[in-house]
Symmetry: C2
Subunit: 453 residues, 2 copies
């Protein structure tokens, strides 16, 4: 076997520190009407050890031994060379992908779920609340809480809750409680249902409910956990890119020319790309591409503003690209890419010119996913199909240019729970959907009077 398809690392080779991009990219502070939000203001929501990470400017942060041990249940994750995809495309590009689909739960989400659950346990938390869209984050946190011994309650966006019964059963199997959002259990949920009893829900609404459920627990032992967007979440995910660097070295490969990940809240993309952003900051030539759906074009079409992270405006203002906290996304199948906002670090890196975001429509993404399934053999999550679609665009470009580019992308998860989406695609029942400009404009009216970053 001269072609090594899977580049693996041993437990001993696992990165021992996370990389914190906040040391190298400067984000404006969280804002409240009273001005910048101090760390202690987050105390009702997050344990202080995680708040500290959220505010940290330290470039390298040690990964506690116990978290390494938890991660070692499925990490280091393999990196694959996509020989079969390359051959199908006839491209001179060398395509590599990190395979995050092999975790329990099937995505990159457990990387931060176990870290957050562990820090919460250390801080005395007894129960975590969270939201989930397609279910990847909710099941990851359920998994982590099960291993670490915390209660877990998940508010799942109603449209996904109804369309996808299996993820909630995963959460239940791991001992968590999962309810459809908007729910009658919170004021935020009741307010939405009063206005629209048929509301399909949104991540922004589910976040409001989960935060409310945490901060109103009179025992003070319930905290909230977020699966993307925030700096400490991006931090925990950087183990992906740090492993990838070691794996590329292992096969004698240079730094990639192009790094690609799909971006909803930004965490799998950040996880793969941030360690390479550091090289770019130090002069390496590299294109770093977050890919989003054309129906939810946060980085490519939404302005960089101060906005709330949730629908009920419970969070402070965050400097980020945002389609507006009232945004209700089209029901595309990539449930993890339908968030109105974006990681502040990813947003700022885009503003700083370190990244080149791209929007791709649904049908091209599913076509890419089908080609990937029939060449590389792994059926990708619809979210990951966005990264594959951009990879194929770049591989074709390399072919046209006759250049031996190195392309690295993140296969953020498998599509085992998304096969009904594939069925619709194969039956010609899916359509493309470009977000009309008027919707962005209208949502931004709600931001009148907010400060500008």
């Amino acid at each position: 076997m001269t072609q090594i398809r899977r580049i693996i690392l041993t437990e001993d080779e696992m990165p021992r520190q996370w990389y914190n991009l906040a040391a190298d990219v400067n984000c404006p502070p969280f804002m409240s009407p009273a001005g910048p939000v101090p760390p202690e203001a987050w105390a009702p929501v997050f344990p202080m050890n995680l708040v500290e990470q959220e505010y940290s400017k330290q470039r390298w942060i040690d990964i506690p031994e116990e978290i390494l041990s938890l991660l070692s249940r499925w990490r280091p994750a393999p990196m694959h060379r996509a020989y079969a995809l390359e051959a199908a495309l006839g491209t001179p590009a060398r395509i590599y992908y990190k395979n995050e689909s092999l975790s329990p739960g099937g995505s990159h989400k457990p990387n931060t779920a176990v870290a957050q659950a562990w820090y919460n346990k250390q801080a005395g938390t007894k129960k975590l609340t969270t939201e989930t869209g397609a279910g990847q984050w909710g099941s990851a946190l359920a998994y982590a809480c099960s291993l670490i011994g915390l209660e877990c309650k998940v508010f799942m966006v109603r449209v996904s809750f109804n369309q996808k019964p299996l993820p909630k059963l995963m959460m239940q199997t791991w001992g968590a409680t999962c309810v459809a959002s908007p729910s009658l259990e919170t004021q935020a949920g009741r307010n939405v249902l009063d206005q629209d009893p048929e509301s399909p829900g949104s991540l922004g609404i589910a976040i409001s409910e989960a935060i409310e459920a945490a901060v109103t627990d009179p025992t003070g032992q319930t905290k909230y956990s977020l699966g993307s967007v925030l700096n400490h979440v991006m931090l925990h995910q950087t183990i992906i890119g740090l492993e990838a660097k070691k794996q590329l070295e292992k096969v004698g490969e240079r730094l990639p020319d192009i790094v690609i990940g799909c971006a909803g809240g930004g965490s799998n993309f950040a996880g793969l790309s941030f360690p390479f952003v550091l090289d770019k900051i130090h002069g390496a030539k590299m294109e770093i591409i977050p890919v989003e759906p054309a129906s939810c074009p946060t980085l490519t079409r939404a302005p960089y503003v101060y906005d709330h992270g949730d629908n009920a405006k419970m969070t402070p203002l965050v400097a980020m690209h945002s389609l507006g906290h009232n945004f209700i996304p089209a029901p595309i199948h990539a449930g993890g890419l339908r968030y109105h906002g974006m990681s502040p670090l990813v947003s700022k890196a885009v503003v700083d010119g370190l990244m080149s975001p791209r929007a791709i429509n649904q049908l091209e993404c599913y076509s890419a996913g089908m080609l990937f399934a029939r060449t590389e053999g792994i059926i990708p999550a619809p979210e990951s199909c966005h990264a594959i679609a951009a990879t194929i665009q770049e591989a074709k470009k390399a072919k046209e240019e006759g250049k031996e580019k190195v392309i690295l992308f993140n296969l953020s998860g498998h599509g085992m729970f998304d096969l009904l989406g594939y069925e619709k695609f194969m039956n010609g029942q899916l359509f493309d959907y470009e977000l009309p400009q008027e919707i962005i404009n209208k949502n931004h009216e709600a931001l009148a009077g907010y400060p500008m970053p």
Copy 2:
């Protein structure tokens, strides 16, 4: 991290030969009314290169480089030390498991699917037909055919086809055609439907349909592929146990005291255990336990006889433990463990006293699966839950005896498509079911006049 949870091998360490138990355990020949069946009689069904393997008595058989390369897409598979399960049980036993759930398709089945598809391609086959119960085998063969460039048609047992929509979508995503069995496409299917239009189907019926569809193709370029039972299938699966041996050595472990796998047709159990059976034949003390459902107690309660492998009696007579080719299993959730027969090699090894089969009821298996999910973090297939249940029995026994036993079991697949079964278990909607002796007796009346092995 002093506790190494995952023992991994590199591609270089992959076994280069399969182990053939037929060199060391002597099975009676396939029989037809004309006497023992010669290899060439199989020509309409299988390509001759696989028939040769089926009849081979050679102990070690080289794995072709191209098959190794295909396997390297997900192999070597990790072996895990089940520290968390051990702690939950408070057992002095050291528990290891091979994790076959990480393959595309999520089970051990692709190990033989890619091998069979490759040998067929070599022999000029254009299309493969097969049957599938729960869908693991059908999706594995669809995957393999997609990579190797063969057409694929799968007859899926109707009750599973209706209960589990996702596996058939996997097959379609990989380009295969999947129909419910009994179907109107074959004489075998029509015969069953004539008698019972509501027939839920069975593996035996689906095998008849798949064989008929292959042998009646006038081009002669369609062959049939079987996912278990036959010697060449067992052979391809031995890579599991051969890897496991290297992995145990790697952590300085002795030979296991107990080797456990669930057994439907026998392939995942054989794959893990056969290389250890060789040690047992050479004097090692070891308990080797195939585990089956109490509702389908082939090894524990059915006699060792000559019987057909399928319902329509298209196959020759096979010497094996059999509940009778007319057996229709109870609709338990472990769809892969509902076959009326058993691998001839496994059957003969049981007759020879090399293995100690055990039957376990459904509720105990799901309880075991839940404990495994909440400790080891992986939600197991209901089939694999049988192996886990026996492992827990043995770990408790080791605790009672105060013995530091080494237990190795095969996690044959994940339970992502079986979460509705878990839901029923959590809701108290599942029941135990012991097969009444009268059913076994009645089915065996159909074997009157058959030769005895």
